[in-house]
């Protein structure tokens, strides 16, 4: 029988739809009976959405300018060749 910890171990696979049908069914049965796991799956889903929505991937402008500079030098060197 699927226990709470078993469910926690494969929770991301469930959220991403990566599980086999039989495992999916076992999780759904468990979720019907267990409010703690319902909270856990719901919270993990929100955590996953947070990552997708969070814009912390904004580039560091100082690094971008250093890269611009190196590209400009390389392009200039190529034009001379």
């Amino acid at each position: 029988m699927l226990m709470c910890k078993d469910l926690a171990e494969i929770a991301s696979d469930y959220i991403d739809g990566e599980l086999a049908t039989s495992q999916n069914l076992a999780i759904r049965m468990h979720l019907m009976m267990c409010r703690h796991c319902r909270s856990f799956i719901g919270n993990l889903r929100v955590s996953t959405d947070l990552m997708q929505a969070h814009s912390s991937v904004a580039p560091d402008e100082a690094l971008m300018r250093r890269i611009d500079q190196r590209i400009a030098e390389a392009l200039a060197a190529r034009k001379k060749d």
Binding site: M3, C4, K5, D6, A8, E9, I10, A11, S12, D13, D16, E18, H36, C37, S39, F40, G42, N43, L44, V46, S47, T48, D49, L50, M51, Q52, A53, H54, S56, V57, A58, P59, L63, M64, R66, I67, D68, R70, I71, A72, A74, L75, R78, K79
Partner: protein, 206 residues
């Protein structure tokens, strides 16, 4: 979500890059560097990762002429970074250490009893959507802090899969991990974010 419009825009950008258009490079650097950095950080420390990304952009100037659009530009750039990192590690004889044996974060694993039931169940339900939660600047800052504290391999997997929306097979290819190991990395990273949000929602502390 690669619409025809995005594909057209990407094609226009590629042509401009192939012509050595400086403005196109500035645009591409801003669009793609953060993802390239996430890849490099999987393999090495922050300073070396920045060096690698700079070096890669210089090689792109020549390599882009042979770009054949078999993959998207983003995936192609990420592969260049990954290959360069792997070569550098080989030449330095450094190994990338990764532990894939534990599926659960230790902090979460300790919240179950011996019969595998919850001993300390989730303390609350996140009732708001991610977008609403992110309107709280303090939570957004806290998320930044915890993301930067994640082990590099987890953070890179998370960045590429969630933030940069790569397909699983592309992430596996770029980071050179198996599909099952990628699942472990993603799951571990999500658990850390879950634990962080739970603490924040409960106490307001990061």
């Amino acid at each position: 979500m690669n619409t025809a419009l995005q594909k057209d825009a990407e094609h226009t950008l590629i042509v401009a890059l192939q012509q050595g258009d400086a403005a196109a490079y500035e645009k591409a650097v801003r669009e793609y560097s953060s993802g390239m950095l996430a890849v490099a950080r999987f393999y090495m420390d922050a300073a070396s990762a920045e060096d690698i990304v700079q070096d890669c952009w210089v090689t792109v100037i020549d390599a882009i002429e042979k770009f054949e659009s078999r993959s998207g530009l983003k995936t192609w750039l990420h592969r260049i970074v990954a290959n360069r990192c792997k070569n550098k590690l080989r030449s330095n004889k450094r190994e990338v250490n990764t532990d894939f044996s534990e599926t659960l974060d230790p902090e979460l694993a300790n919240r179950f009893n011996a019969s595998r039931r919850w001993q300390q169940p989730p303390r609350l339900r996140f009732d708001e959507s991610a977008d609403v939660l992110l309107e709280n600047g303090a939570l957004s800052d806290c998320l930044d802090k915890h993301l930067s504290a994640l082990p590099e391999n987890q953070r890179s997997a998370l960045m590429l899969y969630e933030a940069h929306q790569h397909k699983s097979e592309d992430v596996c290819n770029i980071l050179d991990v198996s599909a099952s190991n990628l699942r472990v990395l993603l799951h571990r990273a999500r658990q850390r974010i879950f634990l962080m949000v739970e603490t924040f929602q409960e106490s307001g502390e990061c």
